[in-house]
């Protein structure tokens, strides 16, 4: 199934269809992750791959063009058609040859299961008091890595803002109704359904955020789900309404605040006499301190991810609106 959808990405010309197929592909791989007993990853892939990524790609599409240019066949020499295929097959054969040395699938004796991981599985429950091992590794044992990830996301958000420009000159009055979504405003069914759905999605996001220690979930997933709820709102009710609730300026501050919560937790540990991000010192009981630290860090991640995702969406769609207006200006 996965291979089939991926293959169809090659042959389909219509970019809109390619993006839809890609969303399907992501959803399928999320199901695959679930069957491999990785619920945290499946949750992330489902919300990102099938939710956010296609929306962003569609946003780009709205700004560029719909069809992938049919390449003139005659112009294309045999060499330029075959060369990629040859390169790809050679690399593929080499990689498959390399897998022959790998331990078999699900083999308990594989090296990956026998070094640092048994320690995490046996000790993390006592050391952090958190049942979800994925969360405790993410926020505590590998806290530095996750800090880095949060900064990468933050930096990407900044990069997109820098490339596509800020939404207005700061007056905040330059937002018009997005032409394409204006049609959606008059669909009563969509309105009623999304009115019911959006609070539920928000509630679910909060549940994923704060219950992440006990069940699959955590800051990354919660942030994305939260952002999806707002994007749905913006799509159905128009960008104007969404700006009223969550202005892009506030979102920009939120991005910074999220990263600061994470970094600040580390600094707080330093002040209290521990190492950077050593949560044990946050409370009299190390276990309790770990708990507080992990919740704070997850909160920081959640705020960063949610605000960056919303900023990305607003930036792309705001750009689309501006270019629509520019065209109208030229015509009139």
């Amino acid at each position: 199934m996965l291979v089939a959808t991926a293959l169809s990405c090659i042959f389909v010309r219509d970019l809109f269809a390619v993006i839809m197929v890609f969303g399907l592909y992501s959803l399928l791989s999320a199901g695959f992750f679930l069957s491999l007993k990785a619920p945290d990853v499946a949750l992330t892939e489902a919300s990102i791959g099938a939710g956010i990524a296609p929306i962003l790609m569609l946003g780009t599409l709205a700004l560029t063009r719909k069809r992938s240019e049919p390449q003139p066949r005659a112009k294309k020499s045999l060499r330029s058609a075959l060369l990629p295929l040859v390169v790809v097959s050679l690399t593929g054969v080499a990689l498959i040859y390399a897998t022959l040395d790998m331990p078999y699938f699900a083999d308990p004796a594989a090296p990956i299961h026998n070094h640092v991981v048994p320690r995490y599985i046996e000790q993390s429950g006592q050391e952090t008091g958190i049942p979800n091992i994925v969360t405790s590794i993410l926020a505590s044992y590998r806290g530095y890595d996750t800090l880095g990830e949060a900064f990468v996301i933050f930096a990407a958000g900044l990069g997109v803002l820098a490339l596509l420009g800020f939404l207005s000159d700061g007056s905040g009055r330059e937002y018009w109704q997005f032409e394409d979504t204006a049609n959606l405003r008059h669909h009563a069914v969509l309105h009623v359904i999304s009115k019911i759905l959006i609070p539920l999605i928000l509630l679910y996001a909060l549940y994923v955020q704060f219950h992440g220690e006990y069940s699959p979930g955590g800051g990354f997933q919660a942030g994305v789900i939260f952002a999806v709820a707002f994007i749905l709102y913006a799509l159905v009710y128009g960008l104007e309404a969404a700006y009223k609730i969550m202005s892009p300026v506030v979102l920009r501050y939120m991005m910074v605040i999220g990263v600061l919560i994470y970094g600040g937790t580390g600094v707080l540990c330093l002040i209290l006499g521990g190492h950077y991000l050593e949560y044990g010192v946050l409370s009299d009981y190390p276990k309790h301190g770990q708990h507080i630290g992990i919740i704070l860090v997850e909160l920081g991640v959640g705020v960063t991810v949610a605000s960056v995702m919303m900023t990305l969406f607003f930036t792309f769609s705001g750009r689309a609106k501006r270019s629509v207006l520019k065209k109208q200006g030229v015509e009139t």
Partner: protein, 118 residues
Amino acid sequence: MTLVFGLFNYWVAMVLMMIGFYILIASGNLIKKIIGLNIFQTSVFILYISMGKIKGGAVPILTEGTEIYTNPLPHVLILTAIVVGVATTALALALVVRIKEAYGSIEEDDIHEKDGSL
């Protein structure tokens, strides 16, 4: 036969990776290239998660009476990689938008033509 079943998941990951790679180098459209890159990326995720699977392992959430858990380390790595992946994809898409504005096209050939390169 054990060879085939033992390594099947990795082979699927390799095939997906090569499909992504092919889209990346053979297609001229920049958005399609990004989709290819994303497929490539997902295949790496599948490779990692497959390696983390353990026979009879439960979901890595501590519960009483469970002995074997699936390896949580790849889950952590991939979970963050997915989110970072979408952030970098967004950056790439933003670049595409700017290229479109500068060159009026998102086809590689047109851009080369305008630049006079190749």
